[in-house]
């Protein structure tokens, strides 16, 4: 299986982690609205792509991996940071999809119903994100195969 989902992972999220994400997310949305109100839609729009919970998310990924290794009796500091780097790599690919979301929005919004645009933009984000990830994985696999063959 290439991609898997573990519903049990939700149980592992501690109450304070839920609160951090909720409060950060809410605060950034309020800030984005206030910035747009004071400085106009151009500056406000930039903040729609602000890495709101990325720092909190990456550090939680690191902490979870570290705890996971600690339970097995290892020092997971390095492993935790490597996994956080992989997570950040995924986020970089997600940024391409984020730009795709915004592009669909700015092209279609003035002429189509907002609900349809929300749906189209979200679908575009999902398609580009998954497509970019699958392409990256294929290229990485090809590069690894090529390296093995040339030995």
């Amino acid at each position: 299986m290439i991609i898997g989902a573990r519903f049990s992972a939700i149980k592992g999220i501690k109450p304070h982690e839920w609160i951090i994400r909720f409060v950060f997310g809410g605060a950034v949305c309020v800030a984005a609205g206030l910035i747009a109100q004071h400085y106009g839609p151009i500056v406000g729009g930039l903040f729609l792509a602000f890495p709101a919970i990325f720092p909190a998310g990456a550090s939680l990924v690191e902490a979870h991996e570290k705890q996971h290794k600690a339970r097995a009796g290892y020092n997971g500091t390095n492993r935790g940071r490597t996994v956080a780097a992989i997570d950040a790599y995924g986020a970089a690919m997600g940024c391409i999809a984020l730009a795709g979301f915004a592009l669909v929005f700015c092209i279609w919004l003035p002429r189509t119903s907002p609900w349809v645009v929300f749906l189209l933009a979200t679908l575009a984000w999902l398609t580009i994100a998954v497509g970019a990830w699958l392409l990256w994985r294929k290229l990485r696999h090809r590069a690894a195969t090529h390296k093995t063959d040339s030995r």
Partner: protein, 116 residues
Amino acid sequence: MSAELSESLARFFIGGVIVSFFAVLAEMFRPKSFAGLFGAAPSIALATLGLTIASHGPHYAATEARSMILGSIAFLCYAASTTWLLWRFKPSALTATLSLLPIWFAVSFAFWLAIR
């Protein structure tokens, strides 16, 4: 309660719920490179653009979305730098992500100077 305050409260609540939702997806999915995609999900945009359309109209929201494309490029520069720093020097994730945040501001500011 003033209209501004109630709009801010709505933004806070909707933003919190959507950001938490994408955080749960990121926690659930494996491998981590795939889960990382949700770190750059359009959570703020989904939470706020609806309210912006309702209060300022579709043209205003479309202008914001155009600017968001540039914000996404700034995010890409920031996420790529974070990957490199974490991979190469292995600082703590919080140190790496917070210390490189000025990259997002610098790239966004450069774009703003270019298009204003």
